[in-house]
């Protein structure tokens, strides 16, 4: 069976590509990335701020059961073209990772299906590979420990 989500991390390049086909129309796929109500649900993080417009910014924050903040990320939108394209920066705070540049290409495959292609550009090949080697196998289950301790 063909995998729905594909990750391509070309050797000796400081970027990676994530591709996924969805059984939802492209406008819903775009909405899922630009409206806090939906982002909160699928990313599992609180959305503190989200201005999905050119030069707007966003802030994500996740707390554990005791209220400790275990994950904080933020960035700026450089370009938002509804149902077509998002370009944003992304940085996870207090992790030692530099800011990433992310390109999201949204494409309608039919009236009911769509595809997302993400291109993530890192500061260096080393940083990309470090991210890939993070403990994703545990689902990055940040509720089970402070994310910072994972990175250190």
């Amino acid at each position: 069976m063909e995998l729905k989500t594909k990750v391509d991390a070309p050797k000796n390049r400081q970027e990676l590509f994530i591709t996924r086909k969805f059984e939802i129309p492209v406008n819903l796929l775009y909405k899922a990335h630009t409206e806090s109500e939906f982002l909160t649900q699928w990313m599992g993080t609180n959305v503190r701020k989200l201005e999905a417009k050119n030069h707007g910014s966003y802030q994500f924050e996740t707390s554990d059961a005791e209220g400790n903040i275990v994950f904080k990320a933020n960035g700026t939108f450089h370009e938002c073209i509804p149902n077509e394209r998002l370009i944003r920066t992304f940085i996870m705070e207090n992790t030692g990772f530099d800011v990433q540049l992310e390109f999201f290409d949204f494409e309608a495959l039919s009236s009911e299906t769509s595809q997302l292609t993400m291109q993530i550009v890192f500061k260096s090949i080393e940083q990309r590979d470090r991210l890939l080697k993070m403990p994703f196998a545990q689902g990055l289950n940040i509720a089970h420990g402070r994310l910072e301790s994972i990175f250190k």
Binding site: L3, K4, T5, K6, V7, A9, P10, K11, N12, I18, R20, F22, E23, I24, P25, L28, L29, K31, A32, F38, Q41, W42, M43, G44, L116, L131, L132, K133, M134, P135, F136, A137, G139, L140
Partner: protein, 107 residues
């Protein structure tokens, strides 16, 4: 002396990926592999050498011939490297799809 080769570098090349595809079906001699390509035998032989150095292909001496086998275990190591990351995103995207489908049906 063998150079230690990077397996990711090895599979980055389309010809080498094609060779893996051929040998995965059945073990082949270098000559039989080369017949499938327009490149010179020397070029193909170089690709085979690289694949062998990083253990994606395994040599077997059969009489005067050398047969090349595919080593699936090594390939698995390669896919395992990004698999946890891929699975993480796959799970997230499955949730996204479910959330949006639910939203769609409410309208």
């Amino acid at each position: 002396m063998k150079t230690r080769r990077d397996v990711f570098q090895a599979i980055a090349d389309p010809t080498r990926r094609a060779i893996i595809g051929l040998v995965a079906v059945s073990a082949m001699t270098p000559g039989a592999i080369a017949e499938n390509f327009d490149s010179t035998r020397q070029t193909i032989s170089r690709h085979i050498q690289i694949l062998t150095e990083c253990d994606l292909l395994i040599q077997e001496q059969q009489g005067r011939e050398i047969l090349y086998h595919f080593n699936p275990q090594k390939m698995k190591e390669v896919s395992d490297f990004i698999e946890p990351f891929r699975k993480f995103w796959d799970d997230r995207f499955n949730t996204l799809e479910a959330v949006m489908k639910k939203h769609q049906s409410k309208k």
